[in-house]
Amino acid sequence: MALTPILTAHWDEADSFTVAGYTRHHGYSAMRQALTTDPDAIIQLVKDSGLRGRGGAGFPTGMKWGFVPQDGRPHYLVVNADESEPGACKDIALILANPHALIEGVVIASHAIRAKRAFIYIRGEVPHAIRRMRAAVAEAYAAGHLGTNIHGTGIDCDIEVQPGGGAYICGEETALLNSLEGLRGQPRLKPPFPAVAGLYASPTVINNVETIANVPYLVRNGVEWFRQFGTEKSPGFKLMAISGHVNRPGVYEAPLGITMRELIEHAGGMRDGSRVKFWLPGGSSVPMLTEDHLDVPFTYEDMAANGTMLGTATPMVFDQHTSVVKAVARWLHFYKHESCGKCTPCREGTFWVTEIMHRLEAGHGQAGDIELLLDLCKQIAGKTFCPLGDAAATPIPAALKYFRDEFEAGMHTPADELFPPAAAFVGASA
């Protein structure tokens, strides 16, 4: 399947991130069209397109917009740019190269949900992206694309770019809202859902960067155009950030339905001497697959049928020099570090599981550790306050499904002995 550069079409142009560069390729024309369209018609368009949230959960975007009650309270649009998922690196790239698609999408989406104010919440560890986004917003204001009475339509839209404080949990939408309000970044009890009482207890829509950036292209080109990409249940195109042991890791844009084998081809193939050992379709929070799954299409439905999830569709691929135990231990350490501490299973479970993973990695595993790990993951999954716990409980059972022997080796042999790190470097004699 061929690549389909749409959001990424002009990333190689020197001024792709400016109003001029964006406008040269029909930028902001969808906004002019949308601002004279009935908001409900835009919501219907997005519903008809079948666009699903690009942040990982894949919730139908039009349906989300349709939940917002029209009761006189102010509405808010919040763009989730807290991209922190291990392996995911698409939103930051989009902000760097094509921020005006996001801004145009924000204006259209705000109009659709009757919001006059939008917030772009960017993770705090990427100051270059924050600077780029702020500059783009300032430029859009100067060009009259933002502010009051945009291009004489009588429609207002203000954007505020807010950096986060550096917490993975703030990518969870209600924790993000708390953080935006200046509270501790911990998820909120639902209901009420953000659509009813979100930011400042007002109806709020929270969308991923890529989702919103899709909107101008969808509005400009229509539902039929959009649905020519992807499948019935997974329509459209997707930013795929492939990382790992391929020759050209990076962001590729392809229709949903592309396979990992094709994507690896586009990324220049596996590195010399490398072959696929295991890979994850969309971030560390989805179960891993193996070489046997390279022909599974990147769609919500096909990934689910193979026991995993599409997630952010930012695949990580690992070759035969990689210790599964070590990789999983790193991820667990990450979840332990990022657990917000609010609920017991996540707070205590990630702490405990990580300790066991570290001793397995060191070759100091104890009899019963594998069973204990499986038990503990079962005690975390589905029991936590928010999906962070589910994510943390994902890697171990999946890894044990395919690579149990490596865990058993952890009872006596350090991972670095089984898989010498030096061998993984490019140019190492395999």
Partner: protein, 793 residues
């Protein structure tokens, strides 16, 4: 209506009922009932830590997971209301729910230290109990546990052991949602998350002890009780708090004849499950300076121990011939107050009685007799829950009736109850009530009430409540203005006294001219009713309306003897003048628990029982009867009534009054007065001159019933003098400078705090270390003072 009546049960509104099925059992519950509560109704105990009925659901501990048909994951039963037709399966019938609960319990125990043998909570610990219910027999956690420094002081009184903490957030949610003192919070994240205080704001709360009680583990302990007892060695007795007039139901825990601690007892109509730190920690006063035997002053002037018969005979002999006065203070049970009232009228033949141990006025006495005495429950806590508007006049709920403050705050939080306050400044308490401040210089309250704006008058409908406090006694015209405001608008008016015994003393008739149940002394029918109840005839009751405390002090030379019960001269308007008056009276009988300034000069001292050692009844500010049994059963201390009965016997006067139950019977039989009442006062306001003193007693202060617990005393608010910016500028004072507040009697120095406040008034706490307004200034609220800038700060 009886004197010791209870308010009618709050009306129940019709509720929509729905049917839920729990473990196969169909149950009808009001819509909105949480699953965990519905399960309780069936006797199914679902484990829980973060859940608390008075706190908003948090669903953070995850101990209460259950299965709900149609939902793929187990759900927290503490946060999900029952739905009609919902099918729930708890650990009783669902292996999934049981597995989920077991898993969570294992996680909760993972980092919990096994120090139960030295933990205060051991034996009454929800974690211990629930670990027995759904925990494993042994631990699979074989790695080093998370460590924290322990314990750390959250306040002088409250200690925090973060290793024991299970992060349920009950304490932080209590501080935020109930007390409104969010000075503790959760810090950091993940397994490092812990409760802590902010470095620049200490845990300043009058309600801090509640967090110890609701902590489901031993993470929060009190310095007072720490390591003092094991729960299974304690005997628990219900008590009514003897401090303020809020009427809190408490539990007294006793070990080997000593009170170890007090807890809030659940009374949904009054204090719910909370109390204040004064009620919780203020019980050590009985430990020091107790009078253990009767004392009689010898011919050579030395007070020496005596036998009961000797002391009683001496008292009886001294209480004869000449004019007598009875000063009781506001700390007695209704039964004891009744005994004083009866003893004064029958045995001593005097109407010179007064329970008010504080600055007072004739207007106040008339207001109490006309509007409060014998009126039953005019306003109840439940009425506040329904009120459309509450106007506070000369009353600081957080300091003077903290549970009333919490109930008001609850209504403010839950249903945006509008509160306004005629007060000098927006205190911390008023701020937490979101109260609209009608900034009023001390002494100006009456004029402000008469000139209330139309917007406020419009809010004073018949569903509005006006609460007036005791400091209005020294503001001429204030009670008159409040009464007429209530009459004019239909708003209900309630008097909130500061002491547990005030309302009971009023009902017992411990005011000159006022017999029990609001009966005027001068009304023949009232006299006849009272005489019959007291087993005598009307001609044996005094006929002349007697003198109040101030008049008794002013005319001390007229008296042959005075009977003093639990009156602290330091609380009166001019303590030295009060003491001098008592010294001048030839014969003083003192009924006291502890050595005091009065026992020092008394001729006969008769020891009486503190609250923990007797049964009785307090009437709270509502007028609700709050009876309690004797907590320390082995005590042989006598009630005031019993001692008075002995003295009466020795005087050959028959008064009865031997048993608390007899007295209750007498009180209930007489009931309240149905006839014409004492005329309402109608006093004109007076203009204030210069700078006036605003003052009231803070909750935690130097009161004698708060002695004996240094940790508690250390949680008192520091003394500051509040001034408006203009008033401060007038004397060249800025925040933190020393301001000197002076009268002819003396002065007090305190650091100035500039705040939004009426001009030409300065506020000081009445009775704190460094600010003893009565003894230093001989001044009451509204008095004229001078203010100057102090020397180098």
């Amino acid at each position: 209506m009886t004197i010791m009546s209870n308010p009618p049960a709050p009306e129940t509104l019709p509720v929509e009922m729905i049917t839920v099925t729990i473990d196969g059992i169909d149950l009808e519950v009001p819509k909105g009932t949480l699953i965990i509560r519905a399960a309780e109704m069936l006797g199914i105990q679902i484990p829980r830590f973060c859940d608390h009925p008075d706190l908003e659901p948090a669903a953070v501990c995850r101990a209460c997971l259950v299965e709900i048909e149609g939902m793929p994951k187990p759900q927290p039963s503490c946060a999900i209301p029952c739905g009609n037709g919902m099918k729930v399966r708890t650990q009783q019938s669902s292996q999934n729910a049981m597995d989920a609960q077991r898993g969570v319990m294992e996680f909760i125990l993972a980092n919990h230290p096994l120090d139960c043998p030295v933990c205060d909570k051991g034996g009454e610990c929800p974690l211990q109990n629930q670990a027995m219910q759904v925990g494993r027999d042994d631990s699979r956690f074989d790695i080093e546990k998370n460590g924290f420094e322990k314990p750390i002081n959250v306040s002088a009184q409250i200690l925090l052991d973060r290793e024991r903490c299970v992060n349920c957030a009950r304490c932080t949610r209590f501080a935020d949602q109930i007390a409104g003192d969010p000075f503790i919070d959760l810090f950091d994240r993940g397994s490092g998350q812990h409760v802590g205080t902010s470095s620049d704001q200490p845990f300043d709360s009058y309600f801090s002890g509640n967090v110890v009680q609701i902590c489901p583990v031993g993470a929060l302990t009190s310095a007072k009780y720490r390591f003092r007892a094991r729960p299974f060695d304690l005997v628990s007795v219900p008590t009514t708090c003897e401090h303020c007039a809020a009427g809190c139901s408490l539990r007294t825990d006793i070990r080997r004849g000593e009170v170890q601690r007090r807890l809030a007892w659940n009374d949904p109509l009054v204090n719910r499950e909370w109390n204040c730190d004064k009620g919780r920690f203020g019980f050590a006063y009985t430990e020091a300076n107790r009078i253990t035997s009767p004392l009689v002053r010898d011919a050579d002037g030395v007070l020496r121990p005596a036998s009961w018969p000797e002391a009683v005979a001496a008292a009886a002999a001294g209480l004869r011939g000449g004019r007598m006065a009875v000063l009781t203070g506001g700390r007695h049970t209704v039964e004891d107050a009744w005994a004083y009232a009866k003893f004064a009228r029958i045995a001593l033949g005097t109407d010179d009685v007064d329970f008010r141990a504080r600055p007072q006025s004739a207007e106040e006495a008339a207001f109490l007799a006309a509007h409060v005495a014998g009126s039953g429950v005019r306003v109840s806590y439940s009425d506040l829950d329904r009120a459309s508007f509450v106007l506070l006049v000369g009353f600081e709920p957080e300091d003077e009736s903290p549970i009333l403050h919490l109930r008001l705050r609850n209504a403010v939080q839950k249903r945006r109850l509008a509160v306004a306050a005629v007060a000098p400044y927006a205190s911390l308490g008023l701020t937490k009530l979101d109260a609209h401040l009608i900034a009023t210089a001390a002494g100006d309250e009456a004029r402000v009430l008469r000139a209330l704006g139309d917007d406020l008058i419009a809010k004073l409908s018949d569903n509005a409540v006006i609460l007036v406090g005791e400091r209005l006694a020294t503001v001429p015209g204030a009670y008159s203005a409040a009464l007429s405001l209530a009459l004019r608008t239909g708003a209900r008016l309630a008097w909130v006294p500061r002491r547990a015994g005030d309302r009971g003393a009023l009902e017992a008739g411990l005011l000159p001219g006022l017999l029990p149940g609001g009966r005027p002394l001068t009304d023949p029918a009232a006299r006849a009713e009272v005489a019959a109840a007291w087993g005598t005839t009307a001609e044996h009751l005094p006929t002349e309306v007697g003198r109040d405390l101030e008049a008794i002090i002013a005319n001390a030379g007229d008296y042959a003897a005075v009977l003093v019960g639990a009156l602290d001269p330091a609380d009166t308007a001019d303590p030295s003048r009060t003491l001098a008056a008592l010294e001048r009276i030839p014969f003083v009988v003192s009924l006291e628990q502890r050595a005091s300034a009065v026992t020092e000069l008394a001729d006969v001292v008769l020891p009486v029982a503190p609250v923990a050692e007797k049964a009785g009844t307090f009437l709270d500010w509502e007028g609700r009867a709050r009876s309690f049994p004797q907590a320390l059963k082995q005590s042989h201390a006598l009630t005031d009534a019993r001692v008075l009965a002995m003295v009466a016997d020795a005087m050959d006067v028959l008064v009865g009054m031997q048993q608390v139950a007899d007295l209750r019977g007498e009180i209930d039989t007489l009931g309240a007065w149905a006839g014409a009442r004492v005329a309402a006062p109608s006093v004109e306001p007076q203009a204030t001159h210069g700078v006036t003193l605003a003052t009231w007693n803070q909750l935690i202060d130097s009161g004698v019933l708060q002695e004996g617990d240094p940790y508690y005393a250390a949680t008192a608010r520091p003394v500051v003098a509040y001034l408006s910016a203009a008033t401060a500028a007038g004397i060249g004072v800025a925040d933190g400078d020393t301001v000197i507040v002076a009268t002819a009697a003396g002065s007090i120095e305190a650091p100035a705090m500039v705040t939004v406040m009426a001009d030409n008034t300065v506020w000081l706490p009445t009775n704190n270390e460094g600010s003893h307004v009565r003894s230093a200034l001989h001044a009451a609220h509204g008095a004229q003072v001078t203010i100057t800038k102090g020397g180098a700060a």
